[in-house]
């Protein structure tokens, strides 16, 4: 156990992508990957403290019935662990303070935003500063998008990444900051790590369908100031092998899918800085 990179992938209550997210973690080099039902945490059968990376996969937590990830954020914030009476949120905060990593994909990103885990400007974890609205098209869409990474971002997950092609699969993905000053700070601190761009990866775009949802300044992924907490709307775990690529039958592509890089970066960071 000592020296192992341990990952917890959350499941249950409408989370859908736990299997492929766990598989991505293995490909990224994690030593132990556990898929854990949210109730196992709340019942005290498992603890976040035993892991280094928490993955919040895509899905429709509680059906997104009160708005994307809202009901789940409410549960994260207020639920108590059955055995100890500790608030689950306190466990999450301890996880963050100890320098561990959190990755939220799609619905997981929405959850992190609504919990105020990102961007957490000035270390203000728990204050919601960004949100997601319905796509400008008012529709759920499954389509692949081009993303440009920010080389100046502190983000651990996108380190060394310049560009990437991944699918989005959401209806509520339009990124909105609470104010202009929030947006300014996000930019100043390099917290915008991924933005929608065109086929040639030139600039950011507001053009549909390249920007599939109308996100402000094409924001597709942000992190907190430590770079250890990261949320991304597109799905890295949906591109783990070249046969996932929509044009693999007509293009020369590397065998490994581009989605693995995010997890490999995280695992390497943990080995160097957390273990």
């Amino acid at each position: 156990m000592q020296g192992e990179v341990r990952v917890i992938v959350l499941a249950g209550n409408g989370i859908n992508c736990e299997y492929e997210t766990a598989y991505a973690c293995k490909l990224g080099g994690a030593d132990a990957v556990d898929i854990v039902h949210i109730n196992e945490l709340l019942l005290g059968e498992r603890r976040l403290d035993d892991y280094h990376l928490l993955c919040l996969p895509g899905g429709f937590m509680d059906g997104d019935d009160l708005g994307a990830a809202k009901a789940c954020a409410n549960r994260f914030r207020h639920a108590k662990i059955a055995t100890t009476g500790e608030r689950f949120w306190d466990q999450v905060m301890r996880f963050v303070q100890k320098g561990r990593l959190i990755l939220g994909i799609c619905n997981g990103f929405q959850l992190m935003a609504k919990l105020g885990l990102i961007p957490a400007l000035g270390g203000g974890y728990g204050e919601q500063k960004v949100t997601f609205a319905f796509n400008d098209s008012s529709r759920f869409e499954d389509r692949w998008v081009h993303l440009k990474a920010n080389p100046h971002s502190p983000c651990v997950f996108t380190k060394g990444l310049e560009r990437v092609f991944l699918p989005v699969r959401h209806g509520e993905g339009k990124f909105l900051p609470a104010s202009r000053s929030v947006m300014r700070k996000l930019k100043e601190k390099g917290l915008i790590c991924l933005q929608y761009t065109d086929e040639r990866y030139r600039g950011t775009t507001m053009k549909y369908p390249l920007n599939p949802n109308g996100s402000v300044e094409g924001v597709a992924g942000i992190c907190d100031e430590t770079g250890r907490l990261f949320g991304i709307m597109p799905h890295p775990e949906a591109y783990l092998h070249r046969t996932n690529h929509p044009r693999w039958t007509r293009e020369e592509l590397p065998e490994e899918g581009a989605g693995v890089i995010f997890l490999r970066n995280a695992v390497e960071y943990i080995r160097e800085n957390v273990l």
Binding site: I15, G63, N74, L176
Partner: protein
Amino acid sequence: MAHRIEVAFKGELRDPLGGKIREKVNNQLGLEVESVRTVDVYTIDVPLQREELESLAKGPYSDPITQVWSVDCPLAQDFDWMIEVGLLPGVTDNVGRTAREALEARLEVRLKEEERVYTSCQYLIRGGLSRDEIETIATGLLGNPLVHRFEIRNREEWNSVKGIGSVVPKVTGLTGGRIERFALEVPDEDLLSLSKERLLALSLEEMKALQRYFGRKEIKERRKIRIEEQITDVELEAIAQTWSEHCKHKIFQARIRYIDEDGKEEVIEGLFDTCIRGATEVIRRSLGEKDQCLSVFTDNAGVVAFNEQWSLAFKVETHNTPSALDPYGGALTGIVGVNRDPFGTGKGAKLIFNVDTFCFAPPDWSKPLPPRVLDPKRIFEGVREGVEHGGNKSGIPTVNGSIVFDDRYVGQPLVYCGTCGMMPRYIQGEPSHIKRADPGDLVVMVGGRIGKDGIHGATFSSEELHEASPTSAVQIGDPITQKRMTDFLLVARDRNLYKSITDNGAGGLSSSVGEMASGPGGCEIYLERAPLKYPGLDPWEILLSESQERMTLAVYSAKIDELLELANRMEVEATVLGRFTDSGTFHCFWHGDTVAYLDMDFLHEGVPRMELVARWERPHHEEPEFALSEELTSTLERMLSRLNICSKETVIRQYDHEVQGGSAVKPLVGKKEDGPGDAAAIRPLLDSFEGVVVSSGICPRYSDIDTYHMMACAIDEAIRNNVAVGGNPARMAGLDNFCWPDPVKSDKTPDGEYKLAQLVRANKALYDYTTTYGVPCISGKDSMKNDYLAGDIKISIPPTVLFSVLGKIEDVRRAVTMDAKAPGDLVYVLGMTYDELGGSEYFAMHGYIGNKVPQVQAWEAKELYYKLHEAIMEGVVASCHDCSDGGLGVALAESAFAGGLGMEVDLRKVPSTGVERDDYLLFSESQSRFVATVHPTMQEAFLSIMKGIYLGEIGRVTRGRRFIVINQKGQKIIQGDISRLKEAWQRPLRF
């Protein structure tokens, strides 16, 4: 007094739902409105303090950045009309359920059973509309009177302090617990009216079978001891459900005297046994050791081996009538309902993909609509959205499907939903596809609760749709409750906590427990133990309710505590309802009294066999007469814009087709990811390259000429599509889903004998072609009353079969897509083209049906499929596309524009027999053909594998955008541009 929390988008922000509604009001209803804004309403029937309500409003119910809220005070202002739409009492309120859980979490309380949260939505409309027009918007667009309640106020009527006040749609006024008894020794007309009044859908003969059974002396005497002599409503309803066409498939079991066009007679002892199961048995015997079938026709889904460790369970169902009444709820329930079929097969399979095929009337319908029929566009959008929510929220990719348009689906759309699951072949050493309940095992219901929803679904779908069809048949599925249940059950399965599992679908507990009890030979059920959504149900309603998201388990009594404990931890309700016995009796109790006491044998075998006559007369249609145009470019563009040919991208993109991470051949392929994939391939095991290939075939237009060939073409199309992407023709299994108009002759159906002959012929083709191809059917379903009847208007659907094929590709890295790949590649047509335009899209475009329906040459086709598969596995095929609706012309154009490349082809090189006209050569729908492209360096290898096959090298893929076709005289008859062709193909159903 209940409280109201209202939530709306901040004034300066766009209201996406409002915007969408405004667009639909303008486009679909042709009414002008200036703006629509929405307010979400939570009606909280819980005594709470103001601070508590505010913390809810601030917390889980609204977003602090985009929304504003109010407590017990309306937000609405600045509107001409306000419409509030909520659910009727008893209708599943998914958002309300989540809001209630969020309340409990936020306030750290446990609510009482009757303390609920209800949701509704206010639409604030600006624009000069009349009350009538507003009512049209309310019932024609925003809601459905079968499901929703409406409050309408104009500016003057609005009370800005109180709003509309709080309305609690609680189910009240039910007493419940009643038992009715009926005398069966009555005249025939009373028997019939009993059947009709209670919606039993039992015929006179069936009612008389009941009368005889209950009149038998030994039955009377036995009943005196346990229960009263007269039949109870619980028994009557259980029998009607078990004997329904929906559950018993009486038409497929009937003895049929079939008379063909020459007057030759034949007696068929059940179409299912002879043609369907019979064919599968023959195929399995001839395959011997290569047979991959594990469980066919006996369980909720058919099971085949995927490899040594894993098996696949596949099932397709229809949900037609509920979708006609409430398209969204009907389709949503359809998809989450069929999910439970593979889930309830064997010990239970994890769900890996969905497929869906719809048959609608054209969305641009302009003729008057018959009474109570919804607008085709509304049905289209509602069904699409229902399947979107059902599939996406369950985390199951929707990978394949199609949409067929025909005017005759206006009274009854067809909604085919299918799901495939995967399970380990052995669980704790036991084969997973085998399950059994034994005497002494406990009957356990898990998942959702029971309400009045969906009562009589089984008997109701066994009748035609009429003006007085019951509204209790409408229900709303709840994917999240189901997801929680399936998450729990997969854990329970792997811990071996139950012995048998089945789904509660049509017929509810009566069906699930009744069927499971036929193994051990009886059961005892205590109906008062069943958890209810609200009090006040009668015992028969508890037994028959089709409330969704429930499974029934047989649990070994020593494991019950562990099972219940696990359920509790995973927040899933599980209740012991009784036990299985070997008493030979289906025995139900209500608070200690016996309310049903039926012989299992009578319940399951007592239904009298139908004796029917089928008489085939070949129809004769006018042969077309129209001149061949000088040039066919615009003709090709018009063909590409046909609803049955055009792009379905709008629908496909709204379904998640990639979740679970195994997507390998997507429904949209090509240079711009928008070409029409022939079949889907997925890798269900992420650490392996073995793939599942799924495809389908459906061609109801050919039924106008001969259902024999319609069936043959559907089978061929499904296999052909599967082969086109790389499916192995030696490793395929089929599913047949029949949707028919009523084929039983009666006053309502004077042409029943003809319609039955159509059914016989389709079944004969199914036997002939599945045995030739060696593709066994493993499961299927029939829906036999797809007629709409109102007054003297009767609309019958064309006989329609969806044939689905589950195939295998050893290595998905060998898969091929339909898009042309590179300039200079050689273009081949594989397979022979005949003068077969009967029932074609081309003839339909000219207003004709014709008579020369495509006929499948199965032995030639089979050789082609095996060789093509070899060529694909050898990697010598660059692209491969099946030729179906619209023939060669359409397939070539699609291949070119999906590849973003031009093409130049010469019709003189197309292998053909007896086709003189150029347009016929281009648009004939002869079966078993492909368009393939091959890189010149692979030409030799390709031709050597394909030796002995009819093929023609007809041209080349070219750089640029020109799409050129040379006719049989050597003239350029088509000079198209791929961008224009693609535009013609994408335009009709674009976003």
